[in-house]
Symmetry: C2
Subunit: 207 residues, 2 copies
């Protein structure tokens, strides 16, 4: 229960606050209240206040929080100012879409290169990010200090790719392949299942 422990649920909302604060026009003044944020994001005001207290803790009654300070605190706490290098394996359609998506950089993650075993995919994309042969991945990761690996290959080769990433010294893996991967406990794994989100929606509407 030290100052570093932030609940997962709260952590998940922090980027939301950051995004919302950044999207506000400067016209709205230099300060903003938790109540206003809650209205903007359709959350409870108490929850917003609690979340913000975990990272910042300086709010004045009747005034609210200083916007620039709040943004700073959020960014610092999320570690967004250090850029983490990431690689992506699997230059299929989804893989290339993520490669070309610039939105990650504002969250502190930079995808520096893509890898693929298919020779046809080995080309320099128009967005300056190279797609390299998978065999070079270990040396590349070592050279560029890559901490994070993204897997967008089919489920057949996902575990194989995963093992290679782990061997390359990756610290965290973001897996889009619809399968469960085995990783050492020292490596952080986040499973992304897009179809699952859809399935949830589908189930809700057909009730």
């Amino acid at each position: 229960m030290n100052g570093y422990s932030i609940s997962k649920a709260t952590l998940g909302r922090l980027p939301l606050y950051l995004q919302y604060l950044k999207s506000l026009p400067a016209v709205n003044g230099a300060t903003i209240s938790a109540t206003a944020i809650a209205r903007g994001l359709s959350l409870g005001d108490v929850q917003v206040r609690k979340d913000l207290a975990a990272v910042s803790g300086a709010g004045k009654p009747k005034i609210g929080y200083e916007r620039t300070k709040l943004i700073d605190d959020l960014e610092r706490h999320l570690g967004y100012e250090r850029l983490t290098n990431a690689v992506l394996v699997g230059a299929g359609k989804l893989g290339r879409a993520l490669l070309d998506y610039d939105g990650f950089e504002e969250f502190g993650v930079k995808i520096v290169a893509g890898f693929d075993c298919n020779e046809q995919a080995l080309q320099i994309g128009k967005n300056t990010k190279p797609i390299l042969p998978i065999k070079d991945i270990a040396s590349y990761c070592a050279e560029y200090n890559v901490k994070l690996g993204i897997i967008t290959v089919g489920k057949g080769s996902a575990q194989d790719v995963c093992d290679q990433l782990v061997a390359s010294g990756i610290e965290a893996i973001w897996n889009f392949a619809p399968c469960t991967l085995k990783v050492p406990s020292s490596v952080l794994l986040k499973q992304e299942n897009l179809a699952l989100s859809l399935a949830y929606l589908n189930n809700q509407i057909s009730k």
Copy 2:
């Protein structure tokens, strides 16, 4: 506490079980225990058992569950056998990647068409899914009984697109744009923020 109420957390895991059961080779026999499933998915055995009890409830000691029956129960309960039609708005890189991804259909959702306002994008993709001008969306949704809309446009036009989808009679929206949308309470909204997942990972590894 009737048969219809399943917790959101459980519901989110059901597709995992389904996927795992389907991926098992037939060699493993016709039955499987909750303990085995738990091992395969790195979950607690008790949790698996509890989840399965919510949809099936027939398990024998020492034996486990009958695999085919379990798959049937899962599929029926998730409503996967009815195919829901979906449209996607925003034929950018991510949009096209999702359009071309076939994996959704096994979860009961079929993306039947993409829409975009950009004339250059109006073409028939190689995967037989048409990309149409956005102005036709209302009539298209009515004709094909579309229940679900996917938004992959930039945040600038997301709300506008959302309103059009709602006006077209959509029941649920899956939004990839990094912004909060306003929808009537009758419409189900699921926000997908890919950058958020990355941010979470990044925060964890830099601790």
